[in-house]
């Protein structure tokens, strides 16, 4: 099954990106275009999730998935923080910043997992997009609390604003709502762009993510063996917790696998920017190298397959 994953064009383009960066090729995707693709991908998955929920309606499943997602995002940073300070040897500030990343999620990992699962006939529930949006920012609160424990932060309002008005939260939730309002019929005229073109764009975006991840790893001067190990152990633990939680609340295999992949994934969009702002003393070299340089490729190439199989065993 990992072979299936590894021969899908989507993953192959990611590997091409990694390869190009490692051989020091000057291949580069213009940043404006990469950003545009990430906006497109978020709008597209938001829309599709909203349409699916418009079809199926608000259900108890949706509500329990939302609650479990929120809890995972809020609580996973505590476990990560303990490991990062004790095993990783990080100080409180850096550990809190890294922990926030691992409580939050990676949109691209989610999208890639959804594509691969769907390609294997395992479609996760439409509301998982809402869970994705819900899991993005609560971890920021936990991470900051861990980093600043005892010290009152003066900037509570700014933080709440960051949690709710963050660009990717607004875009995912906004597109989700538009999908619900427009429904299947309203979606029809915009389908060619948002549905048909989706996988191709994902290929090009993962090519760029491969370049970015590998360059981050090459240029990093902040990683040591312990942090590298933690950047693989944390997704393994978090992902297993996620799959277990999903199975326990009665999710289908595909959705439980997706919840595991969300838990395993680490943010590299919403959280780094928030941490740079709210915890400027934390070292961005550590959290970006771990989440983007190691955990992201690990999840794309191995994690997605692994948690899908785990969900199959448990479900």
């Amino acid at each position: 099954m990992i072979v299936d994953t590894l021969t899908s064009p989507v993953i192959l383009f990611f590997v091409l990106g990694l390869f190009a960066a490692f051989v020091r090729s000057d291949l580069a995707i213009p940043e404006a275009f990469a950003k545009a693709m990430s906006i497109y991908l978020m709008a597209a998955i938001g829309l599709k999730g909203g349409i699916e929920v418009a079809e199926s309606g608000f259900t108890v499943d949706l509500a329990s998935a939302a609650v479990i997602g929120l809890l995972l995002s809020l609580l996973l940073p505590f476990l990560a923080f303990a490991l990062l300070t004790r095993i990783g040897g990080l100080n409180r500030i850096d550990a809190g910043a890294v922990a926030a990343h691992y409580g939050s999620v990676s949109v691209v990992t989610f999208v890639t997992a959804k594509e691969i699962l769907t390609g294997q006939g395992l479609s996760p529930a439409g509301y998982m997009v809402a869970v994705l949006a819900l899991m993005e920012t609560p971890a920021i609160i936990s991470g900051l609390w861990l980093a600043r424990r005892g010290q009152t932060s003066s900037d509570g309002g700014g933080l709440m604003h960051e949690v709710f008005a963050n660009a990717s939260v607004i875009l995912l939730v906004g597109a989700f709502v538009i999908g619900m309002v427009a429904g299947k019929d309203g979606f029809e005229p915009v389908k060619p762009l948002f549905d048909t073109g989706f996988r191709g764009v994902l290929c090009l975006f993962l090519l760029d993510m491969g370049l970015i991840a590998a360059r981050r790893l090459i240029q990093s001067k902040k990683l040591n063996a312990r942090l590298v190990v933690l950047a693989i152990v944390l997704p393994l633990i978090n992902g297993s917790i996620g799959v277990l939680a999903g199975t326990l609340i009665g999710m289908d295999v595909a959705s439980a696998a997706t919840l595991g992949i969300l838990a395993a994934s680490a943010s590299y969009i919403a959280v780094p920017a928030a941490m740079r702002m709210a915890l400027p003393e934390a070292d961005p070299g550590i959290y970006l190298s771990m989440s983007l340089g190691i955990t992201f490729p690990f999840n794309i190439i191995i994690g997605i397959t692994l948690f899908t199989q785990l969900a199959g065993l448990m479900g």
Partner: protein
């Protein structure tokens, strides 16, 4: 001949997410204007970086401000404590401007 006066040209290289925080300091010392210059890439003790719109956190920007000596001094005092923890690069040079009362 047009009369010119000497003012300070302040350049601060800073991580893009921190720009609003620094502009707040600038407003606090009554600096009236600022411009953000696009930086593509760089390198230093902490390794190299490139502009990167996707994650955003790795991007840096130059804040350019023209101000009189007092304001420049006040700004330096205000942000000196963070120079290290925020990884700022602050330089101040002399320039001639026309109609110096603006700054």
């Amino acid at each position: 001949m047009i009369e010119t006066v000497t003012r300070k040209r302040i350049e601060i290289l800073v991580d893009t997410p921190l720009v609003p925080r620094l502009l707040k300091h600038a407003r606090d010392v009554d600096i009236s204007g600022w411009s953000l210059i696009h930086v593509d890439a760089g390198g230093g003790r902490d390794g190299a970086w490139q502009q990167d719109d996707v994650t955003g956190a790795a991007a840096k920007t130059i804040i350019l401000m023209i101000a009189n000596e007092n304001k420049a001094q006040a700004l330096t005092e205000a942000i000196a404590p963070f120079l290290n923890s925020y990884r700022l690069l602050l330089t101040i040079g002399d320039v001639e401007v026309v109609r110096g009362e603006k700054f």
